[in-house]
Amino acid sequence: MLEVMPTMSQTLTVNAPLTAADGELLTVKLAREHRNKQLKAVALVAPLAIFLLLTFLVPIFMLLGRSVDNPEVVTHLPATSQLIASWDRRALPSEEVFQAMARDLTAAKEAKTVPEVAKRLNMDISGFRSLIQKTARKMPLELAAGETMRDRFIQMDERWGDPDHWHVIAKNAKSWTPYYLYSSLDLRETKAGTPELAPEEERAFISIFGRTLWISFWVTVFCLLLGYPLAYWLANLPARKSNLLMILVLLPFWTSVLVRVASWIVLLQREGLINSALMNLGIIGEPLQLAFNRVGVYIAMVHILLPFVILPAYSVMKSIPPTYMRAAISLGDHPFAAFWKIYFPQTVAGVAAGALLVFIMCIGYYITPALLGSPEEQMVSYYVAFYTNVTINWGMAAALGSLLLIATMTLYGLYSKLVGANKLSLG
């Protein structure tokens, strides 16, 4: 090889380098042209990229930041936060810390920020809220001669003499905390700073994540079981007929989700059409509970997401020549065997991509379970909204949202690898 190379390059450089009409080297000119084209392409994409950065990515990063944000103690008890950092965390903190606490609480009382601190500390030890509020109400304190602030605090409430309470203050005297993320995974921080599983009666979120995945899994399975045969049927009908029937798939797809949820309530409620039809036929004596439970959520979610399996499956199946199956059958295969060995493998990739997309959309679902489910059907999204709107606990909302986002983006990454985001198509 090494001996051949020089001779080859020699033969190539025998001719004069190629130039453009204006005498410039062609390679240079082409490279510049290519660069210009790239720049133009980037300039066209840039407005959208910047727009999404500002209206979509930055807000989401702010949400992610909120999940570890811990501003209350640091901002509203600044002197205490600073001094407690050097506490040995065994016995009670020194007299200076108590004095700093008294000063901070006096300032906080004036600035009316006591409730914020109280709420935050109460998350770690319940009852801390009232302790802080009670103490702040007594501020400022006048010390008798020879009395220490520490004695006065403990005299006011003996919980101030409990190192555990001070430990919580020390833990939260940092501007960030893993508390919310740990809580979202039913973990809590031990004194050593390592996570451990919360006691069983306090666990909630693992089961909510589990439920979210479980519901999404079954919705995806049902969508596949219904969508695949229908797509197969439509793809193998004469074009005229299949186009006509395709409208029946596309019309619900284009109809507002709220319209569909409202319709399902009408159909499934206790006095609804399905129950009254079944009762009139004498199949059941009592109305079935179909809405506001798991059944209703499954039915409505499958209805909403079914087109997302049917449409990609249909377009994959349309591209498979029917002659393949005929050839297999004419060579002596049973039609079922021919389908399984010849047809099915060609559809797997496209259908799997559709199913993955359905699963990804499912795990973020909010409206359908919120309107058609009982509390037992609410998924992670519901709790993100709940902590935002009802209890105004941004930390928990953000932490749950971050975990949901991580799950979604992992699956989306998988999807992009599998399908290629640029090959995504709609109907």
């Binding site: 392409a41 807000p59 709220l258 999204s381 949901l404 989306y412």
Partner: protein, 274 residues
């Protein structure tokens, strides 16, 4: 169709498969068929059988300030978001398909991501971002976020159309003396128009059907039609909702017909150019 020599088992299989498929189609359309007649009911409950018919719920819908305001708001937010999403999305799609540059596939994934990120996260994030700016109860923020949600559809449909676009047409036009702008206006735009319009329709439908972001970002002044319906279904579900639903179903039929017509036109142009 079944051949005449099909065995009984084949016959049973053929027909049961057909019946199964027809049942799925019924499952898909029945909710839409069920709610329309109820909007003409005179009853105050959404129940069958309908005892007497009336148009009172349409009077309620079109005569009631709350419903009309929400309809008006939807017609402010959705067209504005559509216009913005279509402009930005089309430009980006042209850029993405015209040349390769480093990081292109990652960028494409990011541009598509509003489609898959759970809307609740988008809503809470948008609230966190816009509330400190004093924009949380404004049309402005709502339009911007709805644009972000609709943009992926435009990028996808326009890119798909551009991939089927024959680049020699641009060279032919240039060789015949047209400048790039004329070429773009006279050659490229008419050919990719179906893709652009169908992307725009997707973006419109996305905004027109969006509840969750609106829930977080809109004040009572900006209540959109879906937001109003969401509240209505949650509190007390009256036939006014059926009337609103019927209006929305008619609307989606119109959207669907436009889209199908465009698809037909696109096929025709493609075959005539080829």
């Amino acid at each position: 169709m079944l051949p005449t020599y099909a065995s009984p088992i084949e016959r049973i299989w053929f027909w049961s498969f057909r019946i199964f498929c027809v049942l799925i189609l019924i499952f898909l359309v029945s909710p839409l068929l069920v709610i329309v007649p109820l909007s003409f009911s005179a009853d105050t409950f959404l129940l069958y059988p309908i005892k007497s018919f009336s148009l009172r719920w349409y009077e309620e819908f079109f005569g009631n300030g709350i419903w009309l305001t929400s309809l008006k708001n939807s017609f402010i937010v959705a067209p504005a978001a559509t216009l913005l999403a279509t402009t930005l999305g089309t430009l980006a799609a042209v850029g993405l398909t015209s040349s390769d540059f480093p990081g292109k596939s990652v960028l494409m994934s990011v541009l598509i991501s509003p489609m898959v990120v759970p809307v609740v996260i988008v809503g809470v994030g948008a609230y966190l971002f816009f509330a400190p700016l004093g924009l949380s109860n404004s049309y402005f923020a709502l339009i911007l976020v709805h644009t972000a949600l609709g943009v992926p559809f435009v990028v996808i449909t326009v890119s798909a159309t551009l991939r089927g676009f024959n680049a020699n047409l641009i060279r032919a036009s240039a060789s015949l003396g047209a400048n790039p702008i004329t070429t773009y206006r006279r050659i490229v735009l008419p050919l990719i128009a179906p893709g652009v319009i169908s992307g725009a329709l997707f973006a419109f439908a996305t905004s027109f059907d969006e509840v969750v972001v609106t829930l977080f970002l809109a004040g009572p002044e900006q209540t959109t039609l879906p937001r109003q319906m969401f509240g209505g279904i949650k509190e007390n579900i009256s036939p006014a909702i059926a009337a609103a639903a019927t209006v929305l179903i008619l609307f989606s039929i119109a959207l669907l017909l436009t889209l199908e017509w465009l698809r037909g036109r696109a096929e025709k142009t493609r075959t005539s150019v080829a």
